[in-house]
């Protein structure tokens, strides 16, 4: 029956039934990216068509048999200006369109829900604010903008969800962000697209998009008991941050209540907005940004807190609106300072020395 081998036949059938030119469109930005893609494909087809037409047409019209003598032509400024300006205008359209899209993909809306992602050789760890942890997976609801704040523990990785048309490099030592709003429930590919060593191609996962109700149910069922901020509070106490950052008038460090998002005056005179990256930097490299009115005496916590611990601390400080609980903890720990060392090693997120 088959002229060709059954294996090949099977193969062709499978191809013809599953042939896809586009990944699924599962986010609000996906149709916009596809529109630009189609426009680019369109002008490419036109461009290649013109070049092919010219080359083939001239080859037939002016082949040596038909046209034994060439007519020498110096050039034509008008023609050259035409094929300089038309591509230039088209490229400018592509530039503006692409730039608008880029700003849309990389500037998150204010109300986005934040999820933290830590990349390491060779796995993705996602941390939901409520304390749900996931490895090589991410559960998200439809219809809600999600922002990912990402960092790598070792080498460059890249967080890519083709179905959402988003991708962002995950870099050691600094936070990068990306956002999206999923539209279609389903399971989609998550790839690491930056070469990161041996198991690069195994650093993949599933993005599970759920309807809001299903998402709520998932959140309920997979909580670990402590939220990121709660864990951050424990680390804050365990590392003794509260000894200085307690809001007392005579404390050696600035109060951290409501510090997130505020503008800070630094000793070098510059103004800086306290964002996630700023908070992380000041924990690891305190002398980089010293707030006006304080001495540069804070020690570095490099190597004492893991990336997850830092995320907990950042999340804790982000939600810190008063110093009451800090002072409360401070009073209890001062009663038995001998114990603080032992508790420190038990708090998840701190690194055992």
């Amino acid at each position: 029956m088959h002229i060709i081998s059954p294996v090949l036949w099977e193969f062709l059938i499978r191809w013809l039934t599953n042939f896809a030119l586009f990944p699924p469109e599962a986010s609000t930005v996906a149709p916009q990216t596809d529109a630009l893609y189609l426009f680019l494909v369109f002008i490419s087809v036109i461009g290649c068509g013109i070049v092919t037409l010219l080359v083939v047409g001239f080859s037939i019209m002016f082949r040596h048999d038909r046209n034994p003598e060439a007519t020498q032509i110096e050039g034509s400024t008008l023609l050259e200006a035409t094929w300089t300006l038309i591509p230039l205008v088209l490229f400018m359209v592509v530039f503006v369109w692409g730039a608008v899209l880029y700003f849309r993909i990389y500037n998150p809306p204010k109300n986005a829900m934040n999820i933290y992602v830590v990349g390491k050789q060779w796995m993705w760890k996602a941390e939901h604010p409520g304390g749900q942890h996931e490895i090589n997976g991410l559960h998200i609801p439809t219809g809600r903008p999600i922002q990912l704040t990402m960092i790598s523990q070792d080498v460059f990785h890249s967080f890519s969800i083709p179905a959402f048309r988003v991708k962002r490099e995950v870099i050691p030592g600094r936070y990068t962000t990306v956002w999206f709003e999923a539209t279609q429930p389903g399971t989609y590919h998550l790839f690491c697209t930056q070469y990161c060593g041996t198991k690069h191609s195994a650093m993949i996962g599933d993005i599970v998009v759920l309807k809001p109700e299903a998402y709520e149910a998932w959140i309920e069922s997979s909580t670990s008991g402590t939220s990121l901020a709660q864990n951050g509070e424990r680390i804050f106490a365990a590392l003794g941050c509260n000894a200085c950052h307690n809001g007392n008038p005579d404390s050696r460090g600035p109060s951290l209540a409501n510090v997130y998002g505020s503008k800070l005056q630094l000793t070098n005179g510059s103004l800086i907005t306290a964002d996630d990256a700023f908070l992380r930097d000041t924990i690891l490299n305190p002398s980089m940004h010293v707030t006006q009115g304080f001495a540069p005496i804070m020690p570095t916590y490099q190597g004492q807190v893991s990336e997850e611990g830092l995320i907990d601390l950042v999340e804790y400080i982000k939600g810190l609106h008063s110093n009451d609980r800090i002072q409360q903890t401070l009073n209890t720990t001062q009663v038995s300072p001998a114990q603080s060392g032992t508790t420190a090693s038990k708090v998840p997120g701190t690194v055992n020395q």
Binding site: T33, F58, H64, A70, Y102, Q121, F191, Q302
Partner: protein, 553 residues
């Protein structure tokens, strides 16, 4: 189909008695030669050797990707395969391909000089190349390197235990070889032009090599610096790129791409020079808009230096610098478009014949147009987010580098083969090879655009099963492509002994190199030529040859 080939009567034709090939004999006369033509031959042999090694890695990569599962080799082995493929193809094949072989051979003759400005430095640059090749091969033999050809930090500096330093040194040394070649071309084109050979009488091949040489001389030192920093960070642990020591891993990306983006123009510009010569010769017509084509090379070289950060658009550079680099990327696409249209317009009212170099040149125009247009996709900010680091980008740069540059290289090798060896290649077989290469190329790399948009990341050893069909097509194409590349090697070798005697100007081309015997004398010209005609002046050539009796021997 008619041709313009004008060969001497094969029954009585003989090769010239004295040529650069038989002026001296023995291995020593080759290894210590100062003759640019002999050095070009040495380069041709050595880059062909490395091309087939790099090609063997490509074959193994495609074989592994036939199935979604990682079944042919271990992940580490696969990573070494694509790393070695990249390093060898970029630094040991593409960068020296046209300039060091064809450029070395014909540029001094084109400008009417006896040799390059610094013959000994030219020889040194070949030795450096061989030295670099030895380092790279020893990295390979000692157990390979798996950093990717981009040596991304901190992976390359802190997380790999393969031979990064050895391979890095290899690339470092290859860089100096490239700098010396560039330097030699710049000085030669500036200072050694024959009387009457003004800048605007230079063949466009010289212009594009001049532009590429500037990129080599100014860009390559930055690559050297970044590699030295990687090596120092890896061996003695200085903290330039390591964030834990206050370094910045993004800095490496800036330094590396500051060279490696201009490097793609180092690779493609000489190829464009070949295409200008070939298109003009086989349509018997001056290149349409000579000045526009000449200056577009310089414009590409100039803009090429200011677009490097488009390799980092998703790496967290500020949105506004992304804007600037995207805009400049769009601008650099324009001179390439000008060239394509000017070549197409050169055909208009020409008298076109279809010898093998012309077929390769047509292949170049088609594939380079696709490669260039998909470059616009990638330069467009929002689009780049979806496309970068996927197979789309792999397909894009293979269209430019393999579809463009390798086609141009083969066009050039066929075009100047009669001049280099004094013998013709077999025309029918070589046309077949050109066709096979074109078909094989499209089949290999076009499916990769689709699989890239679907999201398949590059450098993946295993991939989701739904991408298999496109990968099978690609592997099938690679097989065809492999045949397309093996054919020329076989018949060109055959032609060294059995090819028809070419005579001095089989193509009726206008360049100075075609007005001397093939193969040329060691000193190229017996008397210094005086140039009193424009480039691509076919009427001058017709007048010259009208009353001339073809004498050979």
């Amino acid at each position: 189909m008619s041709t313009i080939v004008r060969l001497p009567d094969q029954k009585v034709a003989t090769l010239p008695k004295r040529t650069f090939l038989n002026s001296e004999y023995g291995l020593k006369s080759w290894l210590l030669t100062g003759d640019h033509k002999r050095i070009a031959i040495l380069y041709l042999i050595s880059i062909t050797f490395f091309f087939f090694i790099g090609g063997a890695f490509a074959a193994l990569i495609r074989l592994e990707l036939l199935t979604p599962q990682p079944d042919l080799m271990a992940s580490d082995t696969y990573n070494k395969m694509f790393t070695m493929h990249g390093i060898i193809m970029v630094f040991l094949f593409l960068v020296p391909s046209v300039p060091a072989t064809i450029g070395n051979f014909v540029i001094p003759i084109m400008v009417g000089a006896r040799d390059l400005a610094f013959p000994k430095i030219n020889l040194l640059s070949w030795y450096l190349y061989i030295f670099a090749g030895c380092f790279t091969l020893s990295a390979l033999v000692l157990g390979g390197v798996d950093s990717g050809w981009t040596f991304t930090t901190p992976l390359s500096t802190h997380y790999l235990n393969t031979h990064v330093v050895t391979a890095g040194l290899g690339v470092f040394i290859a860089g100096f070889s490239s700098i010396f070649t560039g330097l030699n071309f710049i000085v030669t084109i500036h200072r050694m032009r024959a009387p009457g050979m003004t800048w605007f009488r230079l063949p466009l091949f010289c212009w594009s090599h001049y532009a590429a040489s500037i990129l080599m001389v100014l860009g390559t030192p930055v690559l050297a610096i970044s590699l030295v920093l990687v090596i120092l960070e890896r061996t003695i642990g200085i903290g330039v790129f390591d964030p834990a020591k206050g370094g910045d891993p993004i800095l490496f990306q800036h330094l590396f791409w500051f060279y490696s983006h201009p490097a793609v123009y180092i690779m493609i510009l000489p190829g464009m020079g070949v295409i200008s010569e070939v298109i003009s010769t086989f349509s018997r017509k001056r290149v349409f808009g000579y000045t526009a084509v000449a200056f577009s090379s310089v414009a590409i070289a100039l803009f090429g230096f200011f677009v490097w950060a488009h390799h980092m658009l998703i790496m967290g550079i500020s949105n506004y610098s992304a804007l600037v680099f995207s805009l400049l990327t769009m601008l650099v696409a324009v001179p390439s478009a000008i060239k394509i249209f000017n070549w197409a317009a050169t055909l208009y009212k020409g008298s076109i014949t279809f010898e093998t170099p012309m077929l390769y040149a047509f292949g170049f125009m088609g594939l380079f147009t696709i490669g260039g247009m998909t470059g616009v996709f990638l330069g467009s900010l929002g689009m780049d987010i979806q496309l970068t680091e996927t197979y789309f980008i792999v397909a894009h740069f293979h269209f430019v580098m393999v579809g463009g540059m390798l086609m141009a290289f083969l066009a050039g090798v066929h075009f100047w083969w009669p001049k280099m060896t004094g013998r013709m290649y077999p025309e029918g077989l070589s046309k077949l090879a050109a066709l096979v290469t074109f078909i094989g190329f499209i089949l290999t790399f076009f499916p990769q655009f689709i699989v890239g948009y679907l999201g398949m990341p590059r450098r993946y050893h295993a991939y989701p099963p739904e991408f298999q069909v496109l990968n099978v097509l690609s592997t099938a194409g690679a097989t065809v492509l492999g045949i397309g590349y093996l054919l020329p090697m076989l018949y060109l070798t055959w032609s060294l002994k059995y090819g028809a005697i070419a005579g001095e100007n089989p193509w009726q081309a206008t360049g100075l190199e075609w007005q001397i015997q093939s193969p040329p004398l060691t000193e190229n010209f017996t008397v210094t030529p005086i140039v009193d005609y424009e480039a691509y002046d076919y009427e001058w050539l017709a007048n010259k040859t009208k009353h001339e009796v073809t004498t050979v021997g």
